[in-house]
């Protein structure tokens, strides 16, 4: 088989991996957009979602109800994180760095709880779908990858739709621009924040279920590296901008895959971060990021 086929295959490998990063990255972006806070617990929330889906499937819920139950539960976890730790900090008017450190702490708490409940070893996750392989232009591509790509794309469209075209989305954008003014206009800012955390948790659960279904395994620490890469994808695309996250995810996924192919497996993790640094040197707000508005 020719080099072109290999490149095409690797491109598709990279795009489906990238879409997965994009799904996690929107979670960072959503919360950052509203609160200007990097929510480092997001990676663990993603791992939590995957574990919940595994648990519900093993309880014979059926795949779709299991994922739905996991989405709701993980969404509630997102809200809980905000209500239990971040909201009290906001009320006290503490510094942003306190909230940031809190999210790192929460990340470890969730990860350790998962270890206590489910054990620290890697566990099997049932296959969600399998339609065999297809040949496109001589390249062999697993349909699972195409499926992940399409499902992620649809979900990202739905999320963008919610933010762009619904009433709550309008409220979210208003809070994003100016929380105080939004509050004065009669928007319940706390409800908007709660909804955002729910959406972030729900998207993490979907990402967790899809990725675990593809790799057929889950483990408590799965959110760490995936979370870091998704975060860099979000920053790369311009954090707070949803389509930026998608583009960033794809760049990270494709560059990682090509690094693994041509430079060897040991460099794959470094390349994503290298690209991030290079982009930030040229465009400090990310590829699609808006210039920071200094609020007085």
């Amino acid at each position: 088989m020719g080099e072109i086929n290999l490149i095409l295959e690797q491109l598709i490998n990279g795009l489906s991996l990238g879409m997965v990063y994009a799904l996690i990255a929107v979670g960072y972006s959503l919360v950052f957009g509203i609160l200007r806070l990097v929510n480092f617990s997001h990676g663990s929330v993603y791992a939590f979602g995957a574990h919940m889906t595994m648990m519900f499937i093993s309880m014979k819920f059926g795949i779709v109800p299991a994922i739905l139950a996991s989405i709701i539960l993980t969404g509630i976890l997102g809200v809980l994180i905000d209500k239990a730790s971040l909201e009290p900090l906001r009320k006290k008017g503490s510094k942003p760095i306190a909230a940031l450190i809190t999210t790192i702490g929460i990340s470890y708490i969730i990860q350790n709880l998962l270890m206590i409940v489910f054990g620290s070893h890697t566990k099997h996750f049932p296959k969600l779908f399998d339609f065999g392989v297809v040949n496109i232009l001589g390249a062999t591509i697993g349909t699972t990858q195409i499926f992940i790509f399409l499902v992620s794309l649809i979900l990202l469209f739905i999320l963008t739709g919610i933010v762009r075209f619904t009433k709550i989305g309008l409220a979210m954008r208003a809070v994003e621009q100016n929380p105080k003014a939004a509050h004065l206009m009669g928007i319940n800012v706390n409800r908007v924040i709660t909804f955002t955390f729910f959406l972030g948790g729900a998207s993490a659960a979907i990402a967790g279920s899809l990725i675990s279904g593809y790799y057929q395994m889950v483990y408590a620490g799965m959110g760490f590296l995936a979370g870091m890469k998704a975060f860099s994808a979000a920053v790369l695309g311009g954090i707070g901008v949803l389509y930026g996250s998608i583009f960033g995810g794809l760049v990270v996924g494709v560059s990682e895959t090509f690094a693994a192919t041509y430079l060897g497996g040991s460099y794959r993790d470094a390349v994503a971060f290298l690209i991030l640094i290079l982009v930030l040197l040229v465009k400090p707000h990310g590829l699609f990021g808006k210039k920071g508005i200094t609020k007085v």
């Binding site: 490998n13 392989v133 062999t140 699972t144 790799y215 395994m217 693994a260 192919t261 497996g265």
Partner: protein, 375 residues
């Protein structure tokens, strides 16, 4: 009167201290201590716990028969978390504790080799049931390996690929660890020696989850069988993802991936994976069947080959102590060196490099179980 009281109290306290000290020393005379140093927590806890369980089981069996040299056998546990620094600290601790006769353990070769200089220096017998790096026993004459050396295992793996599976286009995937890199290098040489073709070699870092770039390369290179120098946490997702692209691919693993966890994790995708094994738990040999039964009833899981090697390692140490008639480490060491121990992994002797020598069994996964492949 007051002075007399003070002296009395002082005397009593001294008496107390002395008797307790005496009790201590007389007690430790009746005990033979063997240390187990292995990862008891973390990613490799499964292996370390296996060591601990197996060694405890062997000790219990001896204790039930009255111990060794009439003394009770006691196990001292150390958790090295499969971390070289932890291992070096543990070796330091064990070396400063004069009562420990031998150490069974350290799991990964790299971790073992962080600890061996100390054991050699202090003259403590160290048998690793898992280290497979060629340099491991080169540290000195107190260091023994009750595991196969990479070269003999790699040869067995390549022979399975060529003779049992009948494939000549071999792909190789290895983890970037001390063990993985040297195994890959040796495997490459053996593939060339035995007249097969190495179509591609992929290296991954331990903990890799996404193998799609590696699979595309191996598959495009036309690999018919992939020899995987990695543990179950790599082999399982690799097999799963590879079979989604090419359902006909065959895998040959190494003994450290030969574990029930592999089947639990890869399920139907583990079918047909072959291993060269030192120990097969489904064997009909009464000695092996008995060990498997006892282990399973006590710990609720079947022993892996590394676990069996840990069990035999303990057997070797205790037999050597008995033969030496003393717990003097230098004398016990000599007995270990010339032992011919017939354990659950077969008849074990140590060669001039203090590496164990015994034949391989070929095992494959069929219908969710390991089965022996008759040659």
């Amino acid at each position: 009167m007051k002075k007399f009281k003070k002296t009395m109290i002082l005397g009593l306290v001294l008496l107390l201290i002395m008797t307790s000290l005496a009790a201590c020393s007389s007690k430790s005379d009746d005990i033979v201590k063997v240390a187990v140093a292995a990862p008891l927590t973390g990613d490799y806890a499964e292996y370390g716990t296996g060591f601990k369980n197996a060694v405890e089981l062997m000790a219990e069996e001896w204790n039930a028969k009255g111990g060794v040299l009439g003394k009770k056998i006691e196990i001292v546990l150390y958790d090295d978390k499969n971390n070289g620094e932890e291992a070096a600290n543990i070796a330091e601790k064990i070396a400063s504790d004069g009562s420990i006769v031998a150490v069974i353990g350290h799991f990964a070769s790299g971790v073992c080799m962080a600890a061996t200089p100390k054991y050699q220096e202090a003259g403590i017998i160290n048998i690793s049931p898992s280290a497979s790096h060629p340099d491991f026993t080169k540290e000195g004459n107190y260091i023994f390996r009750n595991n196969t050396v990479i070269s003999s295992e790699a040869k067995a793996a390549v022979e399975i690929a060529i003779d049992v599976l009948g494939k000549k286009k071999i792909g190789l995937l290895s983890v970037k660890t001390d063990w993985g890199t040297s195994t890959a290098a040796i495997t490459k040489e053996i593939i060339a020696e035995l007249g097969a073709t190495l179509v591609d070699h992929q290296e991954v870092v331990d903990g890799t989850v996404d193998f799609s770039p590696n699979i595309s390369k191996l598959n495009d290179a036309g690999a018919e069988v992939v020899i995987v120098a990695a543990m179950y946490n790599t082999l399982a997702p690799l097999a799963t993802q590879y079979k989604a692209v090419n359902p006909n691919i065959q895998f040959v693993g190494f003994s450290n991936a030969y574990s029930q966890q592999l089947i639990d994790l890869a399920k139907e995708n583990a079918e047909g994976i072959h291993f060269p094994a030192q120990f097969f738990d489904g064997s009909t040999d009464p000695k092996i069947a008995n060990f498997v039964k006892n282990y399973e009833s006590k710990y609720g899981a079947k022993p892996s080959s590394l676990t069996a090697q840990a069990y035999d390692s303990m057997g070797i140490i205790l037999t050597a102590i008995e033969k030496a008639g003393t717990t003097d480490r230098a004398k016990v060491r000599e007995e270990v060196e010339k032992i011919n121990y017939n354990g659950v992994t077969g008849a074990t002797t140590f060669n001039e490099n203090r590496d164990s020598v015994r034949p391989f069994t070929i095992v494959k996964i069929e219908n969710g179980n390991f089965v022996e492949v008759k040659k």
